[in-house]
């Protein structure tokens, strides 16, 4: 049961990184992809209806950690205290910027909102990788490499998403941005992912990490061949597999010296949570998918 809940939490984090990954990428790339107010609206319009729902994957992951592994939740958050402060500050800046930019005056006020979106997106995308890198290896290099990995993957993923969801000049620039981002993302990902399977029983980890690298490479090739939908599927798969490798490396001790079994809630709590999760999660996935279907059209400049 504890292993099952570890997998559930890994799944929630995976959903978060895959979905918010492109939200962060889109936010980070805003000044590079858009020229002028109309294009800025176009770029941010790609994530407008969905980013808030995507963020709830994080709220759920953290909430599930609290309920299923209280010591993991509290140790994780209090160990990385200042980093977590910056994460929530980044999420505040980004969230307020995204929600308010359509309701403020143009010029300085809109620019401030955009600055919040860019800063928040870059900061949080970097921090998650840095936090997990530090958690696994505890070195400064791992922290920076982890941050670079999560930020570059998010940027690539976001660029591919924009190229999939827009038309015109923005779409062309997004493709270029994706190709440029992959020049950074590929080496960093190869270095970072191959560091993950360092344990003894690491064959499955090598397979997942290898598959993540392969999906990433495939994504880049598909961007090159202008198969945007497939490219997005590939980068999404790469992030999902990279997250799976991360949690594979964290298992069975997601905090140094503390195993999931030691940190888990009692069987009663885990059982009721399982039933509720089994009912709720498929529904969440269904109606969030429906959202993407409703807003499936490419955005033109308006």
């Amino acid at each position: 049961m504890t292993t099952f809940w570890f997998i559930v939490i890994a799944f929630l984090w995976t959903g978060y990184f895959v979905l918010e990954g492109f939200d962060f990428g889109v936010g980070a790339l805003l000044p590079l992809l858009a020229r002028g107010p109309a294009e800025r609206r176009q770029v941010l319009g790609t994530i407008g209806p969905v980013w808030d729902g995507n963020e709830v994957w994080l709220i759920s992951a953290i909430g599930a950690m609290f309920a299923a592994f209280p010591a993991w939740y509290s140790g994780f958050l209090s160990e990385f205290y200042l980093a977590m402060v910056l994460v929530v500050v980044g999420l505040i800046l980004r969230g307020v910027g995204l929600e308010w930019r359509g309701k403020v005056r143009s010029g300085t006020e809109a620019a401030l909102c955009d600055a919040g979106v860019v800063t928040g997106s870059v900061l949080v995308a970097f921090l998650w990788g840095a936090i997990f890198g530090n958690l696994l290896f505890g070195t400064g290099l791992a922290t920076v490499l982890g941050g670079a990995l999560s930020l570059s993957l998010a940027v690539l993923h976001g660029a591919v998403f924009v190229s999939l969801k827009t038309e015109g000049a923005v779409r062309a620039r997004a493709r270029l941005a994706a190709l440029l981002a992959s020049a950074g993302a590929l080496p960093v990902a190869i270095a970072g992912l191959s560091a993950l399977p360092s344990g003894a029983d690491s064959v499955p980890l090598w397979v997942t990490a290898g598959a993540a690298m392969a999906a990433l490479a495939a994504g880049v090739a598909l961007v090159w061949r202008r198969r945007e939908g497939w490219a997005f599927a590939a980068t999404a798969t790469a992030i999902a597999l990279a997250t799976a490798s991360l949690f594979g490396a964290l298992y069975p001790a997601p905090l140094p010296g503390l195993t999931v079994a030691e940190m888990a809630s009692a069987p009663y709590t885990l059982t009721v949570l399982t039933w509720i999760g089994l009912v709720a999660l498929p529904g969440v996935i269904a109606y969030q998918s429906w959202t993407y279907w409703v807003f499936r059209k490419r955005l033109t400049r308006v």
Binding site: G48, A67, P70, A71, I92, G95, S106, A266, T269
Partner: protein, 486 residues
């Protein structure tokens, strides 16, 4: 100051701040959904105008509720790791349920509503808003159930120094929660109702000319102008808010009465502190202000029996020392005493205003000119009353809980994260305070600006970066802005 004090200040500041926005989200969301439903049912244009106008104010506020809520979820682990480890098995469950069952609904369907005006069939679009606001209200239930458990823990046992849940149903149907949920949610509707009253009152005052007269329908050149400037629609929103506030007021009063009785059984120290009652007293009096005593009233309120015994602070302190060992088990008495009074007085004033307004505007034609000027002014001035009452209520509830985080089980002093230093908390407290202060100013300015502008063109610059809620005919809207409403 020690790390513990700073951590408490940070929790207090961020939580009170979070709860400035949450009540408006809870209550205003339902109000906007009601307006849109009225438009859907009747097809009357002014309901749509009001929906979009209050919808925009709702969304400006919603953003702040969401982002400050993330801090809350992180903060238990960041600053209160010992607490989190002790309670996670029980307390984590409603939090996880809140995310899975409420926040996903709220965020996803609100996104659909904001961007779905021209994408979804009208009926489905309306349903999205209702689902989102149901999500908001559901989240209030879960978090209040978690909060109630801290004051009156049920459905658990302590094993190896940790609370273990034995009965989720007991946690979710905790009597404390069942009294607190209608109290807080009802108060949220009062906050939102008075907000709408203030906005409507302001618009009615603003639309009057120099002689204090409102424009008549014949004064407008075109039907579009009439639908935008029609002052009678503010009477509609005013009346709606009056009804909502008055009904919510009844719920708040009734559940408050219930909470008072539960306090006597479950949290005697909080009740004693709220009155400043030192000794166990039969037929305890109530002092509206120090020095004035109404005999028997406290016993009557807390037990519905004028002769009932209400326990006193000093006697409870003695009993707690006998039960839990030496220590100070008394909360900050002046704070609890005064927040109790502020809550009751300001809350009653806000509710009283709504009842008075219902009387004043009863059946005298559906025209804004029938709203007395002085009453419209009173509505504007009343804006802070329910908000202050709400804050006072939370201070009463949570400072009155001290020195415990979990009543009778875990002390606040034993709950704080041992590894987080004073410096770290000082940094985060300063950062949150500055950031929150700036954002509060920005939000207030933004709401004020939109209220002043009214439901018209908000940005004159056509090449501006802002999305406009221009009330151009819908078919035109669909052509020019296919994807980006709001």
């Amino acid at each position: 100051m020690e790390a513990l004090d700073l951590a408490r200040w940070q929790f207090g500041v961020t939580t009170v701040y979070h709860f400035l926005f949450v009540p408006l989200t809870i209550g205003l969301g339902v109000f906007v959904a009601g307006l849109q439903t009225a438009w859907h049912r009747t097809g009357k244009e002014h309901y749509l105008t009001l929906t979009k106008f209050f919808g925009k104010l709702f969304l400006i506020n919603f953003a702040m509720g969401v982002v400050t809520g993330i801090v809350q979820e992180f903060q238990f682990g960041m600053n209160w790791s010992e607490y989190s480890v002790f309670v996670g098995d029980v307390f984590g469950a409603p939090l996880a349920l809140e995310a899975l069952l409420a926040f996903f609904l709220e965020s996803t369907f609100l996104g659909l509503w904001i961007f779905g005006w021209d994408r979804l069939p009208k009926r489905v679009h309306l349903a999205c808003l209702w689902i989102a606001v149901i999500g908001s209200n559901l989240s209030a239930y879960f978090i209040l159930a978690a909060n109630a458990w801290m004051k009156h823990p049920v459905g658990y046992e302590v094993v190896d120094g940790k609370a273990r849940m034995t009965d989720l149903w007991a946690v979710l149907t905790n009597s404390t929660a069942l009294a607190q949920v209608p109290h807080v949610v009802g108060a949220s509707f009062v906050v939102a109702g008075v907000f709408v009253l203030a906005v409507s009152g302001y618009r009615i005052l603003k639309d009057r000319d120099a002689k204090g007269l409102l424009p008549r329908k014949a004064d407008f050149a075109t039907p579009e102008e009439r639908s935008r400037k029609n002052p009678d629609m503010w009477r509609t929103s005013l009346r709606g808010a009056l009804v909502m506030t008055a009904i919510a007021g009844v719920v708040v009063a009734g559940s408050g009465d219930l909470s008072g009785q539960l306090l006597r059984e479950q949290q005697p120290m909080k009740l004693a502190a709220a009155e400043g009652l030192r000794q166990d007293t039969a037929g305890a009096p109530f002092s509206p202000v120090p020095g004035v005593e109404i005999p028997y009233l406290l016993s009557l309120l807390a037990a519905h029996d004028p002769n009932a015994v209400v326990q006193g602070v000093d006697d409870i302190q003695e009993r707690f020392e006998a039960q839990f060992g030496p220590g100070d088990y008394t909360p900050n008495l002046p704070v609890v005493f005064w927040s109790f009074r502020v809550m009751i007085m300001l809350g009653s004033a806000a509710i009283g205003l709504s009842v008075l307004g219902l009387w004043l505007t009863r059946g005298r034609g559906r025209r804004a000119r029938n709203v007395p000027t002085w009453f419209a002014k009173a509505c504007v001035l009343a804006l802070p009353l329910p908000v202050l009452a709400m804050i006072a209520g939370w201070l009463l509830s949570e400072i009155g809980r001290q020195p415990w985080t979990v009543a009778g089980e875990l002390l606040t002093a034993a709950s704080v994260s041992p590894g987080v230093t004073t410096t770290e908390i000082a940094i985060s407290l300063a950062l949150f305070t500055v950031l929150y202060g700036l954002l509060a100013l920005a939000e207030a300015g933004l709401i004020l600006r939109h209220v002043k502008a009214g439901p018209e063109v908000t940005a004159p610059d056509s090449d501006s970066d802002s999305d406009k809620t221009v009330l151009i005919p819908r078919q035109l809207q669909a052509e020019s802005r296919p994807t980006l409403m709001y």
